[in-house]
């Protein structure tokens, strides 16, 4: 080898050695270069070792270990190595095991060598022996021991099959040797992993006790990760790894289960939980023979955990499990785990082992049966819960449990000897109901096949039904809790898949319907509605056939035209009937029927001489039901466009505009509600239909082009902008608010805007004006494009000139209104022009004559108006995400961050204005508090520091609306900006106390918000009780009069607030 190459290698080696513990990058670089020389054959391995040689035998520990490290790192990157080289290197590294400073590198090197292709199994025995003879884990740090586990893992991964054949015991011994006394969590994870692997694959007959002890000595493992733990090991990982070892081999059972059961007596709940999890793991993985041997001791040791527990009062297994799983108290979490173990036990007997399963079930059922025969026994409910848990293991277990336990469960039904009390009935229903949950879980949720022939529950169906109908039918109405329970259970059983046939289902739903119509206890009534709602979700046809006709019969029809009064005071008027119908309309199947039937009721009503409120009630009901339907999955209102709207609109429009004898003639509110119904239907339909819908509405309401939309033509056409027809405006604004913005208007945008503006010039009715303004705003927002810029600027400039120039205040306000609504449309789009107008509007705040209207103008800009509610649909065109298939807003042009931008530009200006002082200060303050309530918390928080002092000032303005919104912001400030609030306490608290006084003329809302602020102060720990203590007695004393406030809600808040202040110091002591 050339001299210069030698020196090059030498320098690389020394570079490596000096970089140890200094720079990992350098280490990597030099070992990489060395490896490249070796790989390319420019130097041989022998030459390399020769050059490294002196260091390898150096007397300095550091130097020696660094040089071994250099060798290992280099070898790591060279591949393949010759078989001979591998063998020589192995021997060399093994010899280094005894050299303590080099042990880590030796183990690491061996791990790498084992992983190289060509490494011979023949060497493994040698390695294992040397490790046992020459490596002593006690002498080394955790990071060294780590590599001993890695080495064994590498060997196991590569030679598993050969090891089992040839070195079974040797490998186990080596593992036991290196794993003894390990304490480091990272190494334990490896150790447990190896143990699990060995115990599940190797022949461990002779060594099982040792392997088990090697792991179980750690149980129960607890570990608190140190701060900035580099390995990020969680206690859960360790527990899980340990559980896997214990459950790895049935041979462990004889040691594991008795020891685990013993650990159950631990008083620490976390240990108990860990033990139960582990027992469950064992039950799931040990073989059947083992389970057969041990189930009795597991059952006996766990049953009292449930039987002696005070079980939460819930109605279903799901609720029970959820309640205990989320329990704050760790002790309570035991219950679901024990139930899981029982269930797992049942599930472990396969078909062949019928006898084993029968033994298990019969012991359990016989033991629990004695409780079940007396339904109100203290442990009956617990027994039912256990049975339900076991039965839900699988179909086979289910049949066995049901057929053996139901005779006990239902025994009291035939038992005439003991008196049949209400409490007994109640308990029996509760118990049966729990067991029914296992059917639900197996057949409804997991959809196992249901065979009425073999399914054991079908046998007891008639008895259960008898129990339920009897409890409901024969009990007095005052037995509220029994009746409610029966109703809930009926709801449950009707929804069990395929259990009841149609007739049985109808029978039960009929019994619920009877409760609805007859029971006037509001509690029972409410539960009955809830039960029918449940049924409606899963078996709508039953509701359509049984309940709906009876409810609808109460409403007026052709013959009677009067409301059929019900004896039940819970539904003694139409509104209540409609409410119930709305509640049970839980899916489209019911909705379809309800919509058509209500429509026909409406046509009857309109012909009769009912009051306007009856018609409004029906319209409201339609609105409620349709709004609710928006949440149904896969809901589409397409068919209602054709089937419902033409008839509906004809009835409404005819009533409002044409037929002067109609109860809703010229009724704005009816049209407003009807408009909402139309809006919901349009937004729920496919976007492809929107253009046609829009055209038809325009023909009808604006262009006077016929009545293609209606089922029958009206006797005279309607023009929204003409005198006399203006009350159709709400309908048009709703249609505009609902349709897709990609549609085109049948007339030009400017033409339409001109019509709206000129109508607004003369219109004086405020309601209609609002609708016109909304129409204008919607047109600008949705259909104006860059071609309309000039028109828009022209109009806005003319509005401005009136606002600034006119003498007539009403005229100025009118134009301000026009300007503001146009600007609102632009602000939502984040249009540049909006910001120019904003500047102008801010300047108006300084005009004294406009001081009363200008602040309100800003409120309009940010207020969430219903016509700008955004609806989303997949496939709608969106500028922001043109290719996304995600649902996008289709009905208005809105930029997601427009509010943030609006507030961020406006708030600094308002703050500056308020701080300037002078006459206009108040106007700025009012504006600020008016708009602040529309801002999201995230937007307002950055400004809190500047706003809060101003809010405190605005509390002095005697106006409820302003105070209330200031207080809302203040409450946020208290929660988010404690440091700032702390400084203000001295002014804040007295001011709040003043507002809370009953004799001050502040409304309920202000008082409640005030008290919320006072309460908020005590809740934020960052303000702390020390700062509040000086005010304690003052608050308590000054809130005393508030305890006698007229409003109950205020009194309640005041008493809560006082209670908090009474306990100020007490709470902080502990």
């Amino acid at each position: 080898m050339a001299e210069d190459k030698q020196s090059l290698i030498r320098s690389l080696i020394s570079q490596y050695i000096v970089s140890v513990d200094v720079s990992d990058i350098e280490l990597e670089a030099s070992s990489k270069s060395l490896a490249e020389y070796l790989q390319s054959g420019e130097i041989s391995l022998l030459e390399f070792i020769k050059l490294l040689g002196p260091h390898l035998t150096d007397d300095g520990d550091k130097l020696r270990s660094s040089s071994v490290s250099c060798l290992v790192d280099t070898l790591r990157l060279v591949s393949p190595l010759k078989r001979n080289d591998l063998s020589v290197l192995t021997d060399f590294l093994l010899s280094k095991l005894t050299d303590e400073p080099c042990t880590l590198e030796a183990l690491r090197g061996l791990t790498i060598l084992v992983g190289k292709p060509g490494f011979q199994f023949a060497q493994v025995a040698n390695i294992l022996n040397s490790v046992r003879d020459h490596y002593d884990s006690k002498k080394h740090l955790a990071k060294v021991r780590y590599w001993s586990f890695e080495l064994l893992k590498a060997i196991l991964t590569k030679f598993e099959d050969q090891l089992i054949v040839a070195l079974n015991d040797e490998f186990i011994d080596s593992f036991l040797y290196i794993s003894a006394n390990e304490k480091d969590p990272r190494n334990l994870i490896l150790s447990f992993g190896l143990n699990t692997h060995i115990s599940s694959k190797f022949d461990i007959e002779t060594k099982s006790a040792d392997l088990f002890d090697a792991a179980f000595c750690y149980f129960p493992i607890s570990f608190k990760p140190p701060a900035n733990d580099p390995y990020k090991i969680t206690p859960e990982q360790l527990k899980e790894a340990l559980r896997s070892v214990i459950a790895a081999n049935s041979a462990f059972a004889k040691d594991a289960l008795p020891s685990l059961i013993e650990k159950l007596s631990s008083t620490a709940p976390s240990v108990k939980l860990d033990t139960l999890e582990t027992i469950n793991r064992c039950v799931l993985s040990y073989d059947e023979a083992t389970i057969e041997e041990y189930w009795l001791s597991v059952w006996n040791s766990l049953k009292f955990e449930i039987l002696h527990a005070e079980v939460a009062s819930v109605n279903s297994m799901d609720d029970l499990i959820q309640y205990y799983t989320n329990a704050e108290n760790e002790e309570e979490k035991v219950i679901p785990l024990v139930l899981t173990v029982f269930k797992s036990l049942g599930g472990r007997f396969s078909g062949q082992n019928e006898a084993g399963l029968r033994d298990y079930i019969s012991v359990v059922v016989n033991e629990l049966g004695k409780f079940l025969t007396t339904p109100d026994h203290k442990q009956a409910k617990q027994s039912a819960i256990i049975l339900s848990a076991i039965a839900s293991a699988n179909v086979h277990v289910f049949n066995l449990v049901i057929s053996t336990s139901f005779p006990f469960l239902l025994q009291a039904l035939e038992d005439d000897a003991s008196p049949w009390t209400i409490s007994k009935q109640r308990s029996m229903i509760t118990n049966v109901s729990f067991v029914l949950d296992s059917y639900d879980s197996l057949f409804t949720k997991q959809s196992n096949v249901i065979d009425p022939e073999t399914n054991a529950l079908f046998q007891y169906k008639s008895e259960i039904l008898m129990l339920l109908t009897r409890s409901l039918g024969a009990s007095l109405k005052v037995e509220v809790s029994l009746r409610c329970l029966a109703i809930k259970t009926i709801g449950k059983i009707v929804n069990l898949k395929s259990l009841l046939n149609l007739e049985e289902g109808k029978l039960l739903v009929q019994s619920l319907t009877e409760v609805l119509l007859e029971d006037d206890n509001p509690n029972t009534f409410g539960v009955a509605v809830g039960g029918l709602k449940e049924v409606a979700r899963i078996r709508p046809s039953l509701i359509v056939e049984v309940t709906l006709p009876q409810l609808l019969a109460l409403l007026p029809d052709e013959e009677t035209t009067k409301f059929q009064a019900s004896s039940n005071k819970c539904i003694d008027n139409e509104t209540k009937v409609l409410q119930v119908i709305a509640e049970i309309s839980e899916n489209k199947e019911i909705l379809d029927v309800v919509m058509i039937r209500i429509l026909s009721k409406m046509s009857v009503l309109l012909k009769s001489s009912t009051s306007v409120s009856d018609v409004r009630a029906i319209l409201k009901a339609l609105e409620t039901i349709l709004k609710k339907s928006e949440a149904f999955p896969g809901m589409s209102t397409n068919d209602y466009l054709r089937k419902f709207i033409p008839q509906f609109l004809y009835l409404v429009l005819d009533g409002i505009f044409i037929n002067s004898s109609s109860p809703i003639y010229h009724d704005n509110i009816s049209l407003e509600i009807a408009g909402t119904v139309v809006k919901v239907i349009i937004t729920g339909s496919d976007l492809t239909l929107h253009q046609k819908v829009l055209d038809e509405f325009m023909d009808l309401l604006v262009l006077k082009k016929g009545f293609s939309l209606l089922s029958k033509p009206l006797s005279s056409p309607i023009d929204v902008f003409a005198k006399g027809n203006e009350s159709a405006a709400p309908l048009l604004s709703k249609v505009f608010a609902a349709t897709d913005k990609a549609t085109t208007l049948p007339l030009t945008t400017t033409d339409l805007s001109d019509r709206v503006i000129s109508a607004l010039e003369t219109e004086t009715d405020i309601f209609t004006r609002q609708c016109y303004l909304q129409i204008l705003s919607l047109v600008i927002n949705k259909w104006f494009d860059s071609n309309d810029d000039d028109y828009l600027r022209l109009k806005c400039t003319s509005f401005m000139s009136t606002i600034s120039g006119s003498e007539d205040l009403a005229q100025r306000s009118k134009h301000l209104e026009l300007l503001v609504w146009s600007t609102k449309a632009l602000v939502m789009k984040n249009d540049k022009y909006a910001h120019e107008i904003l500047e102008y509007l801010v300047s108006l705040l300084e005009v004294p004559e406009l001081a009363n209207v200008a602040p309100k103008a800003f409120e309009i800009l940010v207020a969430d108006v219903e016509c700008f509610d955004a609806y989303k649909k997949a496939g709608a065109t969106s500028k922001a995400l043109p290719f996304a298939k995600k649902a996008a807003v289709f009905n208005i042009s809105t930029s997601p961050l427009y509010k943030q931008r609006f507030f961020n530009t406006l708030i600094p200006k308002l703050i500056a204005g308020s701080n300037r002082g002078g006459d206009q200060k108040r106007t700025f303050l009012i504006t600020l508090s008016l708009i602040a309530k529309y801002a999201d918390k995230a937007i307002i928080v950055p400004h809190l520091e500047e706003i809060t002092p101003l809010l405190l000032q605005s509390l002095e303005i005697p106006n409820d609306k302003i105070r209330s919104s200031s207080l809302v912001i203040l409450e946020i400030a208290i929660a988010e900006y404690p440091a700032l609030i702390k400084k203000q306490l001295q002014t804040l608290i007295p001011r709040l106390l003043d507002l809370a006084q009953p004799d001050t003329h502040t409304g309920e809302e202000v008082k409640i918000n005030t008290l919320k602020c006072l309460l908020g102060l005590t809740i934020n720990e960052k303000i702390g009780f020390v700062a509040l203590m000086p005010y304690k007695t003052g608050v308590i004393r000054n809130l005393l009069p508030t305890l006698d406030d007229k409003r109950r809600s205020v009194r309640k808040m005041a008493s809560d607030c006082r209670q908090q202040y009474y306990e100020l110091a007490q709470g902080s002591e502990s």
């Binding site: 209207v853 006698d1044 109950r1048 209670q1059």
Partner: protein
């Protein structure tokens, strides 16, 4: 607290069985007319103009800008008065925790809606009375006085001073009914008890579930 539990296994009521102020199905209809007005108000609240009272006068002036800062013109209108009733008292005290169970007095049926009587003259100058009869879970319950004291403290903190509070044990519910009754309604003794820090701590704990 001592380790011995006096009644280890009381009967517990489900929270859903407790009496509450239910308005959903009973009072809704009365609000029907109001909600229509509310609907209109929402729409109109954003108007910059208000209708002027006189319709015939001056056409252009039919609409005038509102006086925004007008001092509470509407706030006063008809603020309905909610009387203090038995349910309100029940709501105040049923949420107190039992000193020995993690349950509330309502759940244990120590306090019952029917055993609360409110005599409120609805006149700030006259004295009214709130009478509560409590039912200890067992007849020898030594904690009856403590429970009574807890209720008294809670009510004194939450009720206006014009209402006098009287707490009695329900007839026949306790062995030493008269003694306990005397103790609970003796002003001096109640005051003295409230100066005992240990006792106050227990009461604080009992009241901690009230908010």
């Amino acid at each position: 607290m001592s380790g011995d539990i006096i009644n280890a296994n009381p009967t517990v009521l489900d929270v859903s069985q407790l009496p509450t102020r239910r308005e959903k199905y009973t009072k809704e209809s009365a609000k029907g007319g109001q909600s229509d007005i509310l609907l209109l108000n929402n729409l109109l609240s954003l108007s910059l103009l208000t209708p002027s009272g006189d319709l015939n006068e001056n056409k252009a002036g039919q609409v005038t800008p509102p006086e925004l800062t007008d001092d509470e013109t509407e706030a006063e209108e008809e603020e309905a008065e909610d009387p203090i009733d038995a349910q309100e008292i029940y709501d105040l005290i049923s949420s107190i925790s039992d000193p020995e169970h993690p349950l509330t007095l309502g759940q244990l049926a120590v306090v019952n809606l029917n055993d609360i009587t409110v005599t409120d003259p609805r006149d700030p100058t006259k004295i009214g009375e709130v009478l509560i009869k409590i039912t200890p879970t067992i007849t020898h319950c030594s904690l009856a006085t403590l429970i009574g004291l807890g209720i008294r403290v809670r009510l004194e903190r939450s009720l206006p001073p014009r209402l006098r509070i009287k707490i009695l044990l329900k007839e026949g519910s306790h062995q030493s009914e008269n003694q306990v009754n005397k103790q609970l309604n003796d002003k001096e003794r109640v005051c003295a008890a409230c100066e005992n820090e240990q006792l106050l701590k227990v009461i604080t704990h009992m009241l901690s579930t009230c908010i």
